[in-house]
């Protein structure tokens, strides 16, 4: 169903980078994605036909089935089944590690996460789903909460909030998850965007808590190719983005160990998410973002 080749061809990181504002970027991503999926991106997916009922004065004539009227001489109104009325929450990691951008990436991890979050919000609101957001404020002690809503103005609100976010500080995922568990009461779907570069033990508790509260959590793990492949060749001073710690590293000697550790780290998280039945999607900052969206849609189909 998903023509990835076409999508890849269509995706232009330069175009994306040149676009001003998160709004345009989100639309570019989503419309590109939906164009690849269907001829008409706004019909036939979120709204599905259910059955008929007799016309009553006052009904909107747009929903009258004229064909049926022509065939049977009966005035019937088409009824649609709203696919979901689920509340979605976007949770975005704002730790300083998200600021990393490798040489081959089209944007930093944080920028990529923001675009994805905005695109998903736009998409959900188009389907009449309610979208909200939980993030950490400047002082990570106080969360910032946007109540889910279906109103079109919600998109603007979410965008403004996303644009105001700045990656800074150290590990914050467990705090973010705890805040989400406290603030999200009704059963909801949580879209979690992060690089997850924190020990899984610290974060696992938060995920478990959400899961036990009945929420569905979808993980978008945004990673840079440098983190996945460690392609460095020259010896350099490496400085940790979150802690500021420095180390002289000779990459040829360190690569093997790094990769094995990284794989172990990823495996730990994958096990965790498997146990918790949380869809986990790795988003690379050097590839197009539709892959993540396709994964999201597939998971959503599965859930419903």
């Amino acid at each position: 169903m998903l023509d990835t080749k076409t999508l890849s061809e269509r995706f232009e990181p330069k175009v994306l980078a040149a676009l001003e504002g998160l709004d345009l970027k989100a639309r570019y991503v989503m419309e590109g994605f939906l164009n690849g999926l269907h001829d008409s991106p706004f019909h036939g997916f979120s709204v599905e036909f259910s059955d008929y009922r007799n016309y009553q004065p006052g009904d909107d004539l747009r929903h009258l089935d004229w064909r049926l009227y022509a065939r049977n001489d009966r005035l019937c109104i088409k009824r649609y089944m709203q696919e979901t009325n689920v509340r979605f929450y976007v949770l975005c990691d704002t730790s300083a590690s998200m600021n990393y951008r490798g040489a081959t990436a089209w944007s930093s991890k944080f920028e990529c996460a923001k675009i994805l979050a905005a695109a998903l919000t736009w998409f959900l609101l188009r389907q009449n789903d309610a979208a909200g957001m939980v993030s950490l404020g400047k002082e990570s002690e106080t969360p910032e909460y946007i109540r889910p809503s279906q109103r079109p103005s919600q998109f603007g609100l979410m965008l403004r909030h996303l644009e105001a976010l700045r990656p800074a500080g150290g590990a914050c995922l467990s705090q973010l998850l705890q805040h989400a568990a406290r603030l999200v009461h009704r059963r909801s779907v949580i879209l979690f965007l992060s690089d997850l570069l924190e020990p899984s033990e610290d974060v696992a508790l938060g995920f478990k808590q959400l899961r036990f509260q009945g929420h569905e959590v979808m993980i978008f793990q945004v990673l840079d190719p440098d983190e996945l492949e460690f392609p460095f060749t020259e010896a350099k001073i490496f400085e940790d983005l979150e802690t500021g710690a420095r180390r002289i590293v000779a990459p040829q000697m360190a690569r093997e160990k790094y990769l094995s550790r990284f794989r172990a780290f990823m495996a730990e998280y994958e096990n965790l998410f498997r146990q918790l039945e949380m869809p986990h999607c790795v988003v690379r900052t050097d590839s197009n973002p539709w892959e993540a969206l396709a994964r999201f849609l597939a998971e959503r189909k599965r859930m419903h």
Binding site: F232, E242, A250, K257
Partner: protein
């Protein structure tokens, strides 16, 4: 200088070294730094066995190394013992007198030759500097200059016509020696030992410290000389004639017995005659009159030809601007004054306006002030007249007051002007007082030295007021010793006060032939002067003031051959240094050929006094007390030597500069390399 952290040189040096290095290192670290997000997976990775700072860019490394080397070497240079291997035994400063008087008997040329030969002969352990004694003493050879440069500069120094100060030159030389490296400091004065120079500036605090002064003995006490000075030119109107009254001082020292004097004005020879000087006093005033067009600039010169040793002072130049009609406000009943200032008499010179005593309020309010106010004291009874007079004086305009009546009110007002009446003096008929003493040096009375304009001492005064003036200068005294004519000195404007009125019952002056010239001269003198003088000394700096209405950007100074200097004109003022050569110079504006001013540049008359003397007391007073020197010697002497040593090492500065330049080049190179990467 003992090492101290409080020494500003230390901090300056530390900053100069530290700042570029810190910037450099900081930038270098930045380029090799990678901010990474997953450092936790590298926590225990082994340290690299070889240095990551591999030498990749040899050029960059060389630039860095050279920069560092130059900076370090530059700062270390003055302290390297090898550099100062030749100890400086002696620091020597020549003060070469280049004033006009030293041209006598080729004194300057001989001394210049002496300096040249001594510079060549001086060994490597002798530092030499030369100070030129001119209007402003200047260092023509510094200690750091090499011998060839020094020779060239001394050779290029030409005799000047300026007057300089021995004291200023000695001070300049002393400051050079204070910052010199030599153990032995010598000041060699090569001048003519003019007596008037040694007598000037004797009362100055002592300043010569640890300096051996060598002054050659004067060869003679007096040298024969003829000189001209103090040219003074005035325009006098006699009837329809515009006469030029010219005086010049001829001074003679020594033997010259005959001289030929030539006076030229506007291209014509006015006077050319041999004068016998043998029986004449040493100083005499020569006077000449001739008719000249009042609408033209007067330009001329006088030359005296005779046997003397200093020809440079045998010629003086003079100039006089064309007549500009002035305005007089007259508040007087005297028919003589009214007649004398009428258009028929003063046409083209003075435009008189008779004020109506009943309309003085309107006159005060209108603010149409004339150049000079002429009034009689009886009008001072009116408060409006008093206000008017005071306004004239406050605004810098001239007032001529004839005291023909004194009342208590008038006396009170005179007191405000600095005069006090002590009663009237009336002499019996036929026994009136004559002018007894007249200050002929004053511009109003100077032309009356010549009998051609009449004899002022013939004038009689029969009634006058005895005025006591605390702040005024009497210019004429009567036979009883009472001041009869005064110049006030209290106000901004010029004030002349006559102790009598211009009436026949008070004085015979209105019917005397001197009356009209006197009135004209008094009005000319009372009128506000042009703020820019027209006579200067060679090399003098002048502020030239032109009318603010003149729309010009620059003033241009010309001599006979063409343009010689140019200066920017701002708000009607320009600063200009007059040339060194005596002569006549015209001033124009921008490209305009209209002559704005004509300046005459003449040497100082003091330079013509070829009387010589030993330095004597002057030098003793200029030297510091040995006890005082000893008190301050240990610390300050060492300070001076070291600081001077550091400052005078040119190479030191060049190395530091080179080091900084290399650092800059290296940074540019590194930035370019990074961009290319």
């Amino acid at each position: 200088m003992p090492f101290s952290f409080f020494n500003p040189w230390f901090w300056l040096g530390a900053l100069a070294i530290g700042a570029p290095i810190w910037l450099h290192l900081r930038r270098r670290r930045e380029t090799n730094l990678l901010r990474f997000s997953a450092l936790r997976f590298l926590d225990d990775n082994p340290e690299p066995r070889r240095s990551p700072m591999r030498l990749r860019d040899v050029l960059l490394f060389a630039a860095r190394a050279l920069a560092l080397l130059l900076v370090v070497a530059g700062f270390a240079w003055p302290y390297l013992p090898a550099v100062n291997r030749v100890p400086i035994r002696e620091s020597r400063v020549y003060v070469l007198d280049n004033t006009m008087s030293h041209q006598a008997n080729d004194g300057f040329v001989k001394d210049r030759q002496r300096v040249l030969s001594e510079i060549s002969a001086a060994g490597r352990d002798v530092q030499v500097a030369v100070v030129e004694l001119a209007a402003t003493p200047r260092v023509i050879v510094a200690f750091g200059d090499d011998r060839e440069t020094a020779r060239q500069r001394v050779e290029q120094t030409l005799p000047s016509h300026q007057r300089g100060s021995y004291l200023a030159a000695f001070r300049q030389a002393n400051s050079l020696l204070a910052n010199s490296l030599g153990e032995h400091k010598r000041l060699i004065f090569l001048g003519d030992n003019q007596e008037n120079q040694w007598h000037e500036n004797v009362n100055t605090p002592p300043f010569l410290r640890d300096v051996e002064v060598e002054i050659p003995k004067p060869e003679a006490q007096v040298l024969p000389n003829l000189s001209l000075s103090e040219p003074r030119v005035q325009r006098i109107f006699l009837g329809d004639k515009s006469l030029i009254n010219f005086t010049v001082k001829l001074s003679r020292v020594g033997q010259p017995e005959n001289a030929n004097i030539i006076l030229r004005a506007n291209g014509q020879v006015i006077f050319n005659r041999a004068v016998e000087l043998a029986k004449q006093p040493e100083s005499m005033m020569l006077q000449a009159q001739w008719e000249a067009d009042p609408m033209l600039w007067l330009k001329g010169d006088v030359t005296v030809e005779g046997a003397d040793v200093l020809p440079a002072d045998n010629k003086v130049f003079f100039s006089l601007p064309p007549v500009v009609e002035g305005k007089v406000a007259l508040l007087a009943q005297s028919p003589y004054l009214r007649l004398a200032l009428s258009r028929d008499i003063m046409r083209g010179q003075w435009d008189a306006r008779i004020l109506d005593p009943a309309k003085l309020t309107a006159e005060t309010d209108a603010g149409k002030d004339a150049d000079v106010l002429c009034l009689e004291s009886n009008y001072l009874q009116s408060s409006e007249a008093r206000k008017l007079l005071w306004r004239y004086l406050s605004n810098g305009r001239g007032v001529i007051l004839f005291v023909n009546r004194v009342t208590p009110t008038i006396n009170g007002y005179l007191r405000e002007l600095g005069f006090e009446s002590e009663g009237a003096v009336r002499t019996p008929a036929g026994n009136s007082e004559k002018f007894q003493f007249i200050l002929f040096n004053h511009p109003v009375f100077h032309p009356f030295l010549s009998p051609d304009y009449g004899n002022l001492t013939d004038i009689r005064v029969s009634q006058y007021y005895r005025l006591r003036a605390s702040e005024a200068m009497p210019l004429i005294f009567g036979e009883r010793g009472e001041g009869l004519f005064f110049q006030g000195g209290k106000s901004a404007g010029k004030l002349f006060v006559a102790a009598f009125g211009m009436e026949r019952d008070q004085t015979s002056w209105p019917v005397h032939q001197t009356f009209i010239p006197f009135l004209d001269l008094a009005l000319q003198t009372a009128r506000a002067e042009d703020p820019t003088p027209t006579t200067f000394e060679p090399g003098e700096m002048s502020i030239i003031q032109l009318p603010a209405s003149l729309n010009a950007r620059e003033v241009v100074l010309h001599d006979e051959r063409g343009e010689i200097a140019r200066a920017r004109l701002e708000q009607g003022k320009a600063q200009l240094r007059l040339p060194d050569m005596p002569g006549l110079y015209t001033l124009t504006c921008d490209q305009n050929d209209r002559v704005e001013k004509v300046f005459s540049v003449n040497p100082s008359p003091k330079e013509s006094q070829l009387t010589y003397a030993d330095s004597g007391d002057a030098l003793k007073l200029w030297r510091m007390n040995p006890a005082e020197v000893a008190k301050t010697k240990p610390s300050s002497a060492r300070t001076q030597v070291r600081v001077a040593g550091v400052l005078q090492q040119r190479l030191w500065w060049w190395m530091v500069l080179g080091g900084l330049a290399m650092l800059l080049a290296e940074m540019t190179l590194a930035a370019a390399a990074r961009r290319a990467a």
